[in-house]
């Protein structure tokens, strides 16, 4: 597809995909906040759970990165 309309759709799609990054930020904040509230209630158990925290963050973040990738593909590969 050629022309202005297709270009516009590309940019709009990339912008919408950018929303996904923001939503994954909500997810990461949720993970980290819940970890913190748990850690403050039982600080002695917190140190052993940092690996779990990072794994949780990584899973939440991966989906945001996927949407970032969709935005990149729309901008540069389509």
């Amino acid at each position: 597809m050629e022309g202005e309309i297709a270009n516009m759709g590309q940019f709009i799609g990339a912008g919408l995909a950018g929303l996904g990054c923001g939503v994954s930020a909500l997810g990461i904040g949720n993970v980290a906040g819940n970890f913190l509230s748990g850690a403050l209630r039982n600080p002695s158990a917190a140190a052993g759970q940092t690996a779990t925290l990072f794994i949780g963050i990584a899973f939440a973040e991966a989906l945001g990165i996927f949407s970032f990738l969709v935005a990149l593909l729309l901008m540069f590969a389509v």
């Binding site: 690996a51 990165i65 540069f76 590969a77």
Partner: protein, 257 residues
């Protein structure tokens, strides 16, 4: 796609402006003339990979050469890195996993060093390319899968059959587990490459803003702050890649839920 990108660069160069495209920094170029890239062509990627290996060798081999009881600076950094990864492998996979510690240490050192070298201005970030991280992630995926079948035989398939769930739910869960198992190398590689690429592109975008005098001070402050954040990201992404490798390894060694 790469040809187009190379074409864009030529166009930017010809216009002679200071305008920089934020994705220009990720273009693979041959080191010595020509435009063609074959599998044996030395490019900026291979150069920075070689520098990464050189830096690791300097730190781990030359740095610990003294074997002092009171470590020198280089030796204590090398010992810190060794102890950090060793403890991570032991915590996540248990004692049996320590057999595979050399592989995980190699992965961690390569990724963290490549990330850190990429932060040097005008350097090339090797790990920002999905081609590079996909090889690392696929290597982990195949190692773990083969290891799982060698260690447990067909018992490895019980990873997909959640015995603790109600019987009616198990086939559904098996399908979900199977999909999530095969999506692992995808998310594993894209997480690392995407994070690095996004961070470096953001830095370049702010560098582009610095051209306008009115917002240049703000832009320089922003670059400084983002640089600090990227330093953190460079380490944390290497950590996450390694700890996920440990988690996958644990699944292969103990597939029962």
């Amino acid at each position: 796609m790469e040809e187009e990108a190379a074409h864009d660069v030529a166009a930017h160069g010809a216009s002679g402006g200071i305008q920089i495209h934020p994705m220009d920094q990720f273009i693979v170029r041959p080191l010595f003339g020509g435009d063609e890239i074959h599998w044996y062509t030395p490019t900026n990627v291979t150069l920075w990979m070689a520098l990464t290996v050189l830096a690791i060798a300097l730190l781990l081999v030359v740095g610990t050469r003294g074997r002092n009881v009171v470590p020198s600076r280089g030796q204590s950094v090398a010992e810190l890195a060794y102890g950090f990864v060793y403890k991570m492998v032991e915590d996540v996979t248990g004692k049996e996993g320590l057999k595979y510690f050399p592989y995980i240490m190699t992965l961690f050192m390569f990724i963290v060093t490549a990330n850190m070298l990429g932060l040097i201005p005008a350097a090339f970030t090797v790990t920002s390319h999905i081609a590079v991280t996909a090889v690392l992630a696929l290597a982990v995926f195949f190692t773990v899968t083969i290891l799982g079948f060698v260690k447990n035989g067909t018992g490895f398939l019980s990873l997909f059959w959640v015995a603790s769930a109600p019987l009616a739910l198990r086939p559904v869960l098996a399908i979900i587990e199977l999909i999530s198992y095969f999506i692992r190398p995808v998310s594993h590689s894209i997480r690392l490459a995407g994070n690095l690429m996004a961070g470096h592109a953001v830095m370049k975008v702010f560098a582009g803003f610095a051209a306008a005098a009115a917002i240049a001070p703000f832009s320089i402050l922003a670059i400084t702050a983002i640089y600090g954040l990227e330093l953190l990201v460079a380490f944390i992404q290497a950590y996450i890649f390694t700890i996920l490798t440990c988690v996958y390894l644990k699944d292969a060694l103990h597939p029962h839920h």
